[in-house]
């Protein structure tokens, strides 16, 4: 298991290089010269030229990429073109908020998705199942920024119009958990729908298995059969979806944070796009990509915790990275 984790961390290196190459290339090809943005419209050609030299923008592409990557490895994600503050620091201030929002959204998605999904599978084709599937369809189809605006309309505008106070604040992050509720609900709805569908289909599959019949033949309560014997098996594909959704939530937070003026890293990146702060966009996207990869690693480890067959596989795996094997 440890060996597996270490191995996964080593795989991280090519992933990091790949992701930064993609992000860097996109930014490189984006029209607009960072030096011009840095100096503003009033700058003379000569000043811009000097700034380009200072920022190293006149070097060849690969050299620029190499030096950026070297910086990233040392924790230097570049500096904002407008404020000259380090991107990593700025992200680290805001990222915990985004993480919290994504985690809250995920918690809502997992609780609703798994509970309703299990219920739905046990009572397949019942009225409750139909309602749940309808919810799933709506949840997946409706874009979450629209859902966010509707949530603000209902809970903040109409509610305060009718009762004179607002149930949940519609923006900012001053009210603690209460201000987290609407954005988390907004963010979590579509994931809840996806988790629900996955749980339902996975449970339907598992409930047909022979070992469920064995469990029933033991005389176990149906509740135990469903939650102990079926759900643990059904969770394996659900975890994959939850992991992917978590990454999606980090990205989806960009819209939700904007709609709710939530002080997270997503909104920070959107603002950077608006002000054409290419260095922040580049560093911010790379940061989120790394966070996403880390979450994927956690998901893979979680598989092993749930499924003993995968655990044995991890154990059986030998080092197959040649330059490492030689050192051993």
């Amino acid at each position: 298991m440890h060996r597996y984790i270490i191995k996964r961390l080593i795989y991280f290196i090519p992933v990091l290089i790949g992701v930064s190459l993609i992000v860097f290339t996109i930014m490189y090809l984006t029209p607009g010269c960072p030096a011009t943005i840095r100096l503003g419209d009033q700058a003379t050609t000569e000043q811009i030229e000097r700034m380009r030299e200072l920022m190293g923008l006149n070097r060849p592409f690969l050299v620029q990429f190499g030096s950026y990557l070297w910086g990233v490895v040392q924790g230097d994600f570049g500096r904002s073109l407008h404020t000259n503050r380090p991107v990593l620091g700025e992200m680290l201030i805001r990222f915990p908020n985004t993480m919290m929002l994504a985690a809250a959204g995920m918690a809502i998605a997992v609780v609703i998705g798994i509970l309703v999904g299990v219920l739905s599978s046990v009572k397949q084709y019942s009225f409750a199942d139909t309602i749940a599937m309808l919810f799933a369809l709506v949840g997946i189809s409706v874009p979450n920024f629209w859902f966010g605006m509707m949530a603000i309309l209902v809970f903040a505008v109409w509610w305060s119009g009718a009762f004179g106070y607002s149930l949940f604040p519609s923006s900012g992050f001053d009210d603690g958990i209460r201000s987290l509720f609407l954005p988390a609900l907004t963010l979590g709805t579509s994931s809840a729908a996806i988790v629900l569908r996955m749980t339902r289909s996975s449970m339907l599959e598992v409930l047909r298995q022979d070992y469920i019949r064995t469990a029933r033949a033991k005389g176990l309560k149906e509740r135990v059969v469903v939650f102990k014997h079926a759900l643990k098996n059904a969770l394996i594909p659900v975890i994959t979806v939850v992991g992917l959704q978590f990454g999606f939530l980090l990205g989806g937070a960009v819209f939700t944070e904007t709609v709710f003026s939530f002080p997270g890293s997503g909104r920070f990146i959107v603002e950077a796009i608006r002000s054409r702060d290419l260095m922040v966009v580049q560093g911010g996207v790379l940061f989120l990509a790394i966070a996403f990869s880390f979450i994927n690693l956690l998901v893979d480890i979680l598989y092993g915790v749930i499924d003993p067959r995968i655990r044995t596989q991890y154990k059986a795996q030998r080092w197959n990275i040649p330059w490492l094997r030689r050192g051993k």
């Binding site: 019949r213 029933r216 033949a217 033991k218 005389g219 309560k221 643990k232 003993p308």
Partner: protein
């Protein structure tokens, strides 16, 4: 011996599908005494497994339904029992072993988990004592104790079936239903598993219903035999009279299809035709399209059962007074 343990009267289990009603078990009678072994023999699709699931009240519903009949176990009609009361019997007084050991154990729990679960459930003992009992049971089926901490995927098919036998016998049931326990295993392992079952049956003094299509196995283990065809029991007899005096044309066909090892056989003698489509059973005796001795009356109604001797009865017009050749 002598006490009736289980008596089934007119049991009907139907599967209600869109293509019509399938009378998988259509009015069967049988009885089994304490400590006795009954062989339930028939082709695939004859309704053997459905009969077993009917006794366990585990017929998948929908589409299956027990529509009529009585299942009297220890003097009590199980069909009037509540779900809760049935749970107390299942895995405790009546246990079942299934056909495919490869898929009948839950892959995410250890063997001990799955074995102690049923002991704790029915014997009302603590974890420590349950574990002790589990170890004893493993020893009885010939599995080293320390392997109890392993997961099912670390066991071979024969070992898994031994584990399933241990689970089924853990609460010392009065009746064990073994649904083709050796069909999925290879021949040498089959013999070993049968040996274990025979041995434990003696030790535990329990009755057993052995579902099989192997007449060789029947002759080794069983005291009574029920021959099933298309949802009906066509012949029911003690082992000796069935083997010396097979009476129903279907039973005769079954015996004829066994090649004689003494003779140089170049061609097998099958029963002509195929088992009928379950939704389109022929009128009258279900066997009439394939029967070599078919008469006009066979196409009218299903024949009443005739007693050839107190321990031998057969459902065939050949033995009806005034119809068949030999009036018995």
């Amino acid at each position: 011996m002598g006490n009736k343990l289980l008596e089934i009267k007119g049991l009907k289990v139907h599967y209600i599908t869109e293509d019509g009603t399938v009378p998988a078990v259509d009015g069967i009678d049988m009885e089994i005494e304490e400590g006795e072994t009954l062989g339930l023999v028939g082709e695939t699709g004859a309704g053997k497994t459905t009969t077993a699931l009917g006794i366990m009240n585990l017929v998948p519903d929908p589409p299956g339904k027990i529509v009529d009949g009585e299942i009297i176990f220890n003097g009590e009609n199980l069909r009037t029992k509540s779900r809760e009361a049935y749970r107390q019997i299942r895995g405790n007084k009546i246990s079942m072993i299934f056909q495919d050991p490869m898929t009948s154990l839950n892959p995410v729990y250890t063997v001990f988990d799955q074995l102690t679960e049923v002991i704790k459930l029915h014997q009302k003992v603590g974890s420590g004592e349950a574990l002790e009992r589990a170890k004893e049971m493993l020893a009885k089926v010939g599995i080293p104790q320390e392997r109890g901490e392993e997961y099912p995927h670390q066991f071979s098919g024969g070992m898994k079936q031994r584990v399933l036998i241990a689970i089924a016998l853990a609460c010392n049931p009065a009746l064990l239903i073994a649904d083709e326990p050796t069909t999925a295993l290879d021949v040498t392992i089959q013999a070993q598993v049968l040996e274990v079952m025979k041995d434990l049956k003696k030790q535990f003094k329990m009755a057993m219903i052995l579902i099989t299509h192997d007449l060789g196995v029947v002759s080794e283990i069983c005291e009574k035999v029920a021959i099933m065809y298309a949802g009906k029991i066509v012949e029911f007899a003690d082992l000796e009279s069935l083997f010396t005096n097979p009476s129903h044309p279907y039973t005769v066909g079954l015996f004829n299809s066994i090649p004689d090892p003494e003779e140089d056989v170049t061609e097998l003698t099958p029963i002509k035709g195929l088992i009928p489509e379950p939704t389109e059973l022929p009128p009258g005796c279900v066997f009439n399209p394939r029967c070599p001795d078919v008469m006009d009356i066979c196409k009218g109604e299903f024949p009443e059962t005739v007693e050839l001797s107190p321990t031998h009865r057969v459902a065939c017009y050949k033995y009806h007074k005034g119809i068949g050749g030999e009036n018995k």
